[in-house]
Symmetry: C2
Subunit: 296 residues, 2 copies
């Protein structure tokens, strides 16, 4: 295997949305791949990727895109992984590294793992970064700077392959952490999946109200609601797939959240101001820690 700081000969990005296109831009800027290609199902997306100049070639067929690639990155919604993996399996080059950018990780081992041929390395990854915008034009090379990228290599993965992927993300400005896929899915269920689900929920609740007109909800959204709408504007298909593919951990977090909300509901009903103030004081401290950790 080439050294961890040598550029890849050809990086193939399967899917070229917000994350894929940000990765393409960042790989190019840092000289991490001599050739960058992508695949995308629609002609308009391929044309856009070429027009933006972020890839050298754009293919309709995933299998064609991975031919000769020593780095393959799955950048589609995770619900498509099994089909994508089955489609590219026969075209992967021995020694190639297959990684991904999905927000759930046990599903990658489950859906992609069985299709990876002997001699090809699967190193699942998750850059914890994003915006509410979608599509190739939404990407930018700095998206990963200062953010964490989590790698969840299955037991027995080549340490050199893991190190090459880690070195890649570090070169893009990210911090890298390696952990078990199951643990990843639990931690992200609370730090990412539940927040998104709740944001989607409350925006739906507000939209359905008879007591307030839609235009009032929008006008007075600066009181807190608008922050939720930003998160609730994230890609619908991507997030549908996240919830369906991290079902157990998300259901567990909803349950805990609901218990805690019910306790607050009761405190409000019974006028227990101290309970409210105690929690609100405690949560303020967490914010300070996030600012200190430079993740604000």
């Amino acid at each position: 295997m080439p050294g961890k700081d040598e550029p890849f000969a050809r990086a193939a990005l399967i899917g070229i949305g917000l994350i894929g296109s940000s990765l393409a831009r960042a790989l190019r800027r840092h000289g991490l791949a001599r050739e960058i290609v992508c695949s995308a199902p629609t002609a308009a997306t391929r044309a856009k990727a070429m027009e933006l100049g972020i890839v050298d070639r754009a293919f309709a067929d995933n299998a064609e895109a991975v031919l000769g690639a020593d780095l393959v990155v799955l950048c589609t919604p995770v619900g498509a992984y099994a089909e994508v993996a089955a489609g590219i399996a026969g075209s992967l080059t021995p020694g190639a590294i297959v990684t991904d950018v999905g927000s759930v990780k046990q599903a990658v081992v489950r859906d992609v793992g069985p299709h990876i041929p002997e001699g090809v390395h699967l190193v699942p990854g998750h850059p914890v970064a994003g915006t509410e915008h979608s599509g190739p034009e939404a990407g930018f090379a700095e998206l990963f700077v200062g953010r964490w990228c989590i790698l969840t290599p299955p037991a027995g993965t080549s340490p050199e392959a893991v190190e090459r992927v880690a070195a890649l993300w570090r070169a893009l400005g990210s911090n890298v952490e390696v952990m078990d896929a199951g643990h990843h899915d639990k931690v992200l269920a609370i730090t990412s999946h539940l927040p998104h689900l709740i944001a989607y929920t409350i925006v739906g609740t507000a939209t359905d109200l008879e007591a307030a007109t839609q235009s009032e909800v929008i006008k007075f959204s600066a009181g807190g609601f608008r922050d939720f709408t930003r998160i609730a504007a994230s890609d619908p298909v991507m997030w549908r797939d996240v919830f369906l593919n991290n079902r157990e951990a998300v259901l567990e977090m909803i349950q805990r959240f609901t218990e805690d909300l019910t306790a607050l509901q009761r405190a409000i009903r019974w006028g227990e101001g101290e309970k409210l103030q105690d929690l609100f004081t405690r949560t303020r401290a967490i914010r300070r820690s996030i600012i200190e950790a430079k993740q604000a």
Copy 2:
């Protein structure tokens, strides 16, 4: 009563936290009051307000602060209003306008109304603006620019008094809307109070997890959680008072939210991807409306 565009002779701000101090700065910048005084219970806060140069005088006693003031603005947490109103009642100048900046409005009529002497005008107000920071040093004059200020004058309030307060907020850069206090409390329960309660809840839920360490929750907060921590860093006493003083509307919104979350929980459990995607697509459109309304 002086014309609506004439400056006030003396504005007295009761409380000089984020909103009070922003108002002091904005009144000064736009020449809307010839003298600006404040009251604050702690010597440190009074010293800070003087040091910042945002008030001409700072009093320990609310009644002293309102002496001779033709504009009195309550800027304390709403739970303190009844006591504040009782304390200043005897010192209010005939013809003066008493307003406030609280996030609930029926409670103002209930707690402040009975103390307002004949000839003094009560015009409750709510600038829908804020940040997660607190204290006089957190304020800034531009806080209200482009935001909405809602006025909820009780039936029978002098239209001239309402117009003077409306003109004041417009001069600070705000849009003004007049509505019934009960309607205000319902609309804000969904656009502001519930979002804050939910943010406080989820940050509490995350902090209590055994499965993830605190440091992991903080590290990987860029996945969505961090936006909630910002809101959950808002002033604990102010928010305690909001929930205790808008109990019915908040409880109603919690109930609706919980029903909607339970429906999504069920969709996730049963793998009903279409239901999820439908909602997520609908919520995305709301975000676009907020951006178009320039409230993003």
